[in-house]
Amino acid sequence: MVDFNITTVLMPEVVIASMSMILLAIGLLVPYGSRKSMMPLTAFTLIGVLSYTLYDFFYGPKATFLDGMYMHDQFAVYFKLLFLAAALLVVLSSGDYVQKLAEHRYKFYSLLLSATLGMMLMAGAGELITMYVGLELMTISFYILVAYLANDARSSEAGIKYLVLGGASSAILLYGISLIYGLTGSTELFVIASKLGGNLTPASFLATVFLLAGLGFKISLVPFHLWAPDIYEGAPTPVTAFLAIASKAAAFAVLIRVYLLTMNSQAFSITGETLLIVLAVSTMILGNLIAIPQTNIKRLLAYSSIAQAGYLMVGIIAGSLAGIKGVLFYAMIYVFANMGAFAVATHVAERQDSDQIKDFAGLWRRSPVAAVVMTASLLSLAGIPPLAGFAGKFYLFTAVMDQGFIAIAIIGFVMSMVSVYYYLSVVKVMFLAEGEGLPDIPVHGAMKFTMVFTMLITLVIGLYPTPLAQMAFAAAESLFK
């Protein structure tokens, strides 16, 4: 057993949790006018934690502790990196947006951090109740964040919808967990795996389906996806970004662990694969098809992110080391690609008070940086080289084809080319339309940094994916040990 100190291992979680509290306290104590430093404070905290986590990923001790309840392997750390990066980018891009909110804005960052904390717990959870607690921490924070524009009926409506559906899906997830507990007597993944592995009973299958449905809800897998577009549309744009990127990734982290340990058993394999293939294919197709007629950028990105979930599922279907590596790789670049797009959407939403695609008209002229970043991000999502999305898809589909599934790869690639259609429609509006009468909206400061940074990362990873691929490989490998 590697000798380690539990506090050093849990340092990121602890810091994030305390910072969340501190921000709340500051919000309560410091007078309204001088709360501008909250964004930098959060950002620097996140940068610090991120750096530490990065160090931890490569050099820190790895262990499973609390009898397998909590895992500190490279897989978990990889996802923590992802959440922290996403949170950081959201924070950086949300500065002006949040500034315009009313006096509640200090809670925004606090809630953001608590959601991040929830995700980090999910990534490390080796046990279903821990996972559930993390999940709920994240979800409840999101309920509030989604409805954060208290005076905006749409935002409140989104919050309510998310609450109802999220609650119901949690209940179903929990019911599944309870069945599993009933069948195995444990909520720890390793124990479950050893006890459940043998044969497939209707009860165990019901439990699995419930579990899958609960997690599928979070990753907006068709047919559990219906909430996503509405919530994404109603939520404040930075929240949408965080929701689309991080919460989905967190659910994937859990799904991978659960799937690999429990569902990937011999008895389950054919049935489970069939099920997952059907779901993944319909997710890819439906997400991309419905995205085509969208006129609202957030809704468009919502459907696009549904489709992206379908691509990610492909890696899980492969179930191999390469497949998981593909998922990890793709999840990370997905952060940057989506973040770029959402940053631009946030910027436009903040300046023009509109989420309509037609209001992006002439963005090329009015804000060249934003237009270029948006284009690069969308094309990365579509998987056009030399952007990172291509490398990601390549890893994913190579893995699944290696397992012999050719048709799913064809469907995936064809659908991703179909997706180019609606991504390019946005590009067309930005570059072709003149945008008469719309204001010039140059980007500055942290927002500009976010945009350019995400674009550069997208480009650099696309051109030279090796470092990230190695990290993803290490993380995936730690899962298979």
Binding site: E136, A153, G159, L163, S178, Y181, G182, G185, S186, A203
Partner: protein
């Protein structure tokens, strides 16, 4: 199949508890599907969560009540506790949201919350 059959062979208890849990869950589900008032829906969700609690406790009590050293392993009970706490948080947030949406829409009728669609 075997495990479920085992459940029914037990003389008293588990099957009944599980049935109650399942019924409660379905009731909650029905509420979520059919109720129009947001608060009622929130309560229905609570029903579903409590159904899970019953399951947990029943399982722990009837099947998995082993002892390690001198302690009982109370995973199910602990889980139920957690769920209760989380449910409480959820209800708190939920009620706050209902108030917020009521301010905006002057209604708690879930059918009217359809501005976001397509």
């Amino acid at each position: 199949m075997s495990l479920l059959n085992n459940f029914s062979n037990l003389s008293v208890g588990l099957t009944s508890y599980l049935l109650v849990g399942a019924m409660l869950f379905c009731l909650g589900l029905y509420g979520v599907f059919a109720k129009k008032n947001m608060i009622a829906i929130l309560m229905s969700i609570e029903l579903m969560l409590n159904a899970v609690n019953i399951n947990f406790i029943a399982f722990n009590r009837f099947i998995w009540n082993q002892k390690v050293d001198i302690h009982y392993v109370l995973t199910g009970h602990v889980a139920a506790l957690f769920i209760i706490i989380v449910a409480a948080c959820e209800v708190a947030v939920g009620l706050a949201l209902i108030i917020s949406v009521y301010r905006n829409r002057k209604s708690t009728n879930v059918d009217e919350f359809n501005w976001l669609k397509w």
